[in-house]
């Protein structure tokens, strides 16, 4: 997994609440292999017209935001389907961090597994950030995982909480499966005891 430490980059505002993962990547693309074209699936049906041309109003199509590496969203971004491809599509487009007042639980987890940093900020802070990004299209924010801060275009510094476990994994880009396999002894011991205590769960 790619590590995440500190990022200074253009941020794009998305004001719509409850952006679901069906919108982030429509179902018909889920079977597609993760190839260099993957970023095109991102927000496909709201980003492109039926003939494949771009909808000029969509935020990521506007020249100032095309190089965005951060999305600043509204409440409950990434709700709905568990499809990890929503994160893959964001990542393939170049997004490394998603900032919102709340995120869909599974989407939130999926971000960490793919080197994307999900940042939860209070409603007012996220709204203020989006406001500034609208006012100064193409403005940059700084997301610092070590310091747990987001610096807004106006210089305001917003602290955020991040789970220490997830933080360490992201900072080092450590592979979770390798970490878990280090607990093999405990897993084996639990498994044996569990099978004794709840023998009806053993299938044959």
């Amino acid at each position: 997994m790619r590590a995440f430490t500190r990022l200074a980059a253009v941020a794009a505002p998305i004001d719509l609440p409850n952006v679901d993962t069906d919108r982030i990547i429509p179902a018909r693309f889920l079977r597609k292999p993760k190839n260099p074209e993957y970023g095109r699936f991102l927000f496909h049906d709201v980003r492109f017209n039926a003939d494949g041309s771009e909808k000029p109003d969509f935020v990521l199509n506007r020249p100032a935001y095309r190089s965005a590496q951060v999305v600043v969203a509204a409440e409950n971004f990434g709700c709905g389907s568990s499809r990890e491809m929503a994160v893959w599509a964001l990542e393939a487009f170049g997004i490394r961090a998603v900032i919102a007042p709340s995120l869909g639980d599974i989407f939130h987890q999926n971000c960490f597994k793919n080197g994307l940093l999900p940042v939860i900020l209070p409603v007012a802070a996220a709204a203020s950030l989006r406001g500034q990004l609208h006012e100064i299209p193409g403005a940059s924010v700084v997301v610092d995982l070590e310091a747990q801060t987001v610096t807004a275009p106006d210089g305001a510094v917003h602290r955020f909480d991040v789970d220490p476990f997830r933080k360490r994994m992201l900072l080092t880009g450590q592979d979770e499966i390798a970490l878990t396999l280090g607990h093999e002894t405990e897993i084996g011991a639990f498994e044996a005891r569990h099978a004794r205590e709840m023998p009806w769960l053993v299938t044959d």
Partner: protein, 467 residues
């Protein structure tokens, strides 16, 4: 045996599955059952590339539901769709996972067949790479959806790192009125707490209304927990649960059944258990409910009118309502019962079980569908059981299409989608933009309400059709 954990049913299950504690409040949880479908392709491919083996293939069970066509008879899929199913067949065979494949009557929607086969049991921890895994919580187990990296993690380690969610108890007391179903209850709950109302929480559904429900109905309620943003939803197990499970193919038998039963009876939340949040609804107040917008929280009693964005609480809400109405092609102020539909879909892991098909058939009986209407049973076995009762005849006589089991138009991954601009009365769980096809407009309803819409061609208060 170690001392029994106390607290809520969720806490009891959580603490009995902790393998070890990690940093920052994370714990490693042991997974009892892992359900798989074609969507796990990416995880299988990474496994194959790395030469990984599954730790406990005997605890994983797979079915083909999302990509299988449901055309009556023997459907032939396009090459890309067929590849998804073939890949699952190959990988499950290689790793030794039980697979309910095409041609097997036990095949069906993953959240329908887990309970049907007795794989879903009280007190267990069950995961699946699908957000509607909460369905299984109806049995008093902890069941939640995971992403594909986590699917791979479970395949290799049979565990997951998780942080304990908060708990929310939703109590629905009173009694449901005539024509009001489990679907209306969960739509009313989501409308009350909002699409983000359950984020970070596990919901326990309680109260007399929930207790009075069959297992099929409880599954409908738990199924849509994710639509309220919740990690999982559950109902404490009781006699209804045990009666459903006894004799199921993978449920314990004989001496093991007795031991399991004794344990399951200790699972309900202790009387002094506390929840982080509590919400109460009066079941008597709930009416047949429909959605008008593009989020499951946009739900209203069928007796209401399309809401006016001008009356929204704030600018953000107003804009999102305006956007939803534009997408749905609706004008504020019109009665919901004046909305005409182009198509009806009865199916999905929310409403494709026998109870659902019976409820729909009861409304349809002796009438004619005036718009194209599909019935897609949740599993091959449900299809058989419905046919044994003659439900297929009722639907067919009324001009409905009686199809093979699968997810079908709930998500349309197999190509079974509604056309752009088409308005669908659907028993599924998501009315997101484009969910049932690019540009398709979805109104979420109960099976009885879907049947009523099919025979009238408009959203209809099912209570006015009967009697």
């Amino acid at each position: 045996m170690t001392a029994r954990p106390r607290g809520t049913v969720f806490e009891k299950i959580w603490s009995s599955h902790v393998v070890t504690e990690g940093p920052g409040g994370h714990v490693l949880l042991y997974i009892d059952r892992h359900l798989l479908h074609e969507g796990s392709t990416h995880a299988w491919e990474r496994m194959a590339r790395n030469g990984s083996r599954m730790r406990r293939p005997d605890l994983s069970f797979a079915t083909a539901d999302h990509y299988v066509l449901t055309t009556p008879g023997t459907p032939t899929a396009d090459a890309e769709t067929r590849k998804m199913v073939e890949s699952l067949t190959r990988h499950t065979t290689e790793q030794g996972v039980t697979f309910f494949g095409v041609g097997d009557d036990r095949r069906g929607i993953v959240h329908v067949i887990g309970p049907e086969q007795g794989l879903t049991l009280p007190g267990i921890l069950l995961v699946c790479g699908d957000s509607h895994t909460a369905t299984h919580g109806a049995f008093g187990c902890l069941a939640f959806g995971v992403g594909s990296t986590e699917v791979e993690h479970v395949m290799i380690t049979q565990t997951l790192w998780q942080k304990k969610p908060k708990s929310l108890r939703v109590t629905v007391d009173g009694r449901l009125g005539f024509g009001v179903t489990a679907k209306d209850v969960i739509l009313a709950i989501i409308a009350t707490i909002g699409a983000a109302g359950g984020v970070g929480h596990v919901i326990e559904y309680a109260g007399t209304v929930i207790r009075a429900m069959t297992m099929d109905q409880r599954m409908t309620v738990c199924n849509m927990s994710i639509e309220a943003g919740a990690r999982a939803g559950m109902v404490a197990p009781d006699e209804t649960t045990f009666a459903y499970l006894e004799g199921r193919p993978f449920a314990p038998k004989g001496e093991l059944w007795a031991r399991a039963l004794a344990y399951w009876k200790t699972l309900p939340s202790d009387l002094d258990a506390t929840f982080d949040r509590e919400v109460t609804l009066d079941g008597t107040e709930i009416a047949p409910t429909v959605t008008w917008g593009t989020s499951p929280q946009d739900a209203l009693p069928i007796t209401e009118r399309v809401p006016d964005p001008a009356r929204a609480a704030d600018a953000t809400r107003r804009e999102s309502m305006e956007r939803a109405l534009a997408y749905m092609g609706l004008t504020a102020g019109i009665p919901l019962t004046e909305i005409t539909v182009d198509r009806v879909f009865i199916g999905s892991c929310t409403n494709s079980r026998l109870d659902d098909l019976r409820a729909a058939a009861q409304v349809v009986k002796g009438k004619r569908a005036v718009v194209p209407a599909w019935v897609v049973p949740g599993s091959g076995l449900i299809k058989r059981a419905a046919e044994a009762e003659g439900l297929d005849r009722v639907f067919r006589d009324a001009g409905f299409e009686w199809r093979e089991a699968g997810c079908s138009m709930c998500v349309g991954m197999n190509g079974e989608t509604a056309r752009g601009g088409e308005r669908v009365a659907s028993t599924s769980n998501r009315n997101f933009e484009g969910r049932q096809g690019q540009g398709a407009r979805t109104h979420l309803v109960s099976p009885a309400m879907a049947a009523a819409a099919a025979v009238t061609g408009r959203l209809t208060d099912v209570r006015t059709l009967r009697g």
